[in-house]
Symmetry: C2
Subunit: 351 residues, 2 copies
Amino acid sequence: MASRSIRLAVIPGDGIGPEVVSEGLKVLDAVASSGDLTFERTSYDLGAARWHRTGETLPDSVLEELRGQAVILLGAVGDPGVPSGTLERGLLLRARFELDHYVNLRPVRLYPGVATPLAGVTPEDIDMVVVREGTEGPYTGVGGVLRKDTPHEVATQESVNTAYGVERVIRYAFEVAASRPRRKLTLVHKDNVLTFAGDLYQRALKRVAAEFPQVTTDYCHVDAATMFFVSQPRRFDVIVTDNLFGDIITDLGAAVAGGIGLAASGNVNPGRTAPSMFEPVHGSAPDIAGQGKADPTATILSVAMLLDHVGAADAARRVERAVSDDLAERAALGARSTTQIGDAIAKRVSG
Amino acid sequence: MASRSIRLAVIPGDGIGPEVVSEGLKVLDAVASSGDLTFERTSYDLGAARWHRTGETLPDSVLEELRGQAVILLGAVGDPGVPSGTLERGLLLRARFELDHYVNLRPVRLYPGVATPLAGVTPEDIDMVVVREGTEGPYTGVGGVLRKDTPHEVATQESVNTAYGVERVIRYAFEVAASRPRRKLTLVHKDNVLTFAGDLYQRALKRVAAEFPQVTTDYCHVDAATMFFVSQPRRFDVIVTDNLFGDIITDLGAAVAGGIGLAASGNVNPGRTAPSMFEPVHGSAPDIAGQGKADPTATILSVAMLLDHVGAADAARRVERAVSDDLAERAALGARSTTQIGDAIAKRVSG
Ligand SMILES: CC(C)[C@H](C(=O)O)[C@@H](O)C(=O)O
Ligand SMILES: CC(C)[C@H](C(=O)O)[C@@H](O)C(=O)O
């Protein structure tokens, strides 16, 4: 069988980023070696270290190089010495916006054997996919400040939402919902207060729903949604929501599904006009960096999402199964290092 | 002792609103009769019923009458027949904005005996006060829609934040923090993305902190805050946050502290240039209206907040204690009706 070569950009980043990425790549190698895939890797030095050295976040030339890649794996970026917002906006959000990652895909799933902070909740209760809009809403950076540092200062932030942007992410969410057994899609917003944006989402939902008669839809205010995440998570199958609400509820989702160490995500450009980027939801955790304490599972699950994106569904399922089997036994195994967890999952994938 | 008469506006509203308000007033009467307070009540017919009949939400003339009251008790408004946003913006938010309720005060406290969805959490772990800004941020209604119902539609929402508005709510939050044993204030925002507004909050926090050297401060992104609400709620003492983040995290707070049936709130005008308004966080719950199933506890706790606001701290503590004692025994008592709960708490208050 001819082997298919895929250009993979790797951005290890800072803190625990390089540690978890290296386990992600270990698992990717293990699954690729037994299949017909090869990954042609290029590593990019981006993040806090580069910023401290050069003041750069995502230079245009690097962005152009990234455009030539098929897919990106990112660890985590940032350290306490970088002013808040610098790398977030200059690197992460810049990549999401420039590479048109309009779908920020975040599964929220409680794996068997994983401890949740919620009492009496089982894996059947938490199995959803959040489709978060990734390229507009309150994340545009539109806004400004007037009369800074005076008693008359005014600071604004504008949420910009377009029919183009909203409809395409909703359509993607319908596709995800149609592919799942429950076929249910919930719009999460705050349409009783953010009436202009909320109404646009509601009308787009109604329009696109006509194309997916097999999917049932409902609506939930974001404040109520956070309540249901802890009191009735089963209520949700697929959620579509805006950039900011998606940010908030997926962190909460990670918490109820066993913690940020397990939460994977994909910044997806479904039309493949630019590479998609996969990354754990967690940050660079400088406090535990270099100690082998980081859990690489979120990165490994992000690798599974990456495999799905490049059309290697079988390989993706194998990685997911290996993670799931590993998680099921974790409670009995005691503390393991980052590398030990990566080794164990890679072994299951190869075996 | 001369009795002090206080003008109280009552807005029972729709659904379970009138049921819970009537228990709140029962408890208020019970505590007032044994003290030196009398309440001169006026009831206002506002909400879905009035809107269906007249199309009015909060007419100017009624708003003017409300300004002449000392304090307002509101049940809940809304029914499924009213378009989303109509009463929220036309009545609730209009009252908050016109009456300058810049502090939206929301205690999040797990009472002994109350079941929480969180495993292994005790009342000591959840005892915080959220000070939510109430008169600006993303709730201004500023924004609009262009090219509606075309593929080129654009819908915007603007978050407007002022040094004036932010500093005053932060100062109030510091006062609350200074009055509590832990003396800790956490700013919750998303300053790495909403950089203009977040920076204004951060600078205002730093300025006002100089007036409260005894209070320690820290910062938490809103997404991370939702994680900590379920994984480490003890982390928080007093939180100050913007209007939208406050809306979201206080619903989550209600959920982890035993549910929306217990969550009280005050829309406070600290300078008393207009009446403050106290209301349960829950809505009108039309599905259970008229069945005696609604829990009046959130309204009764809102009455305690109202008593604090009018300077009747002893009466407020008595109501809180009565609620706390009632909650401690609830698990053993089985299901009770709205009225039975109100009667039981009123009896404890009088006894
Ligand atoms: C780092 C930050 C900009 C980012 C976001 O807000 O989207 C993060 O919280 C996430 O969820 O990926
Ligand atoms: C009804 C709605 C406008 C309101 C809000 O968003 O503030 C409610 O959710 C609340 O928290 O009091």
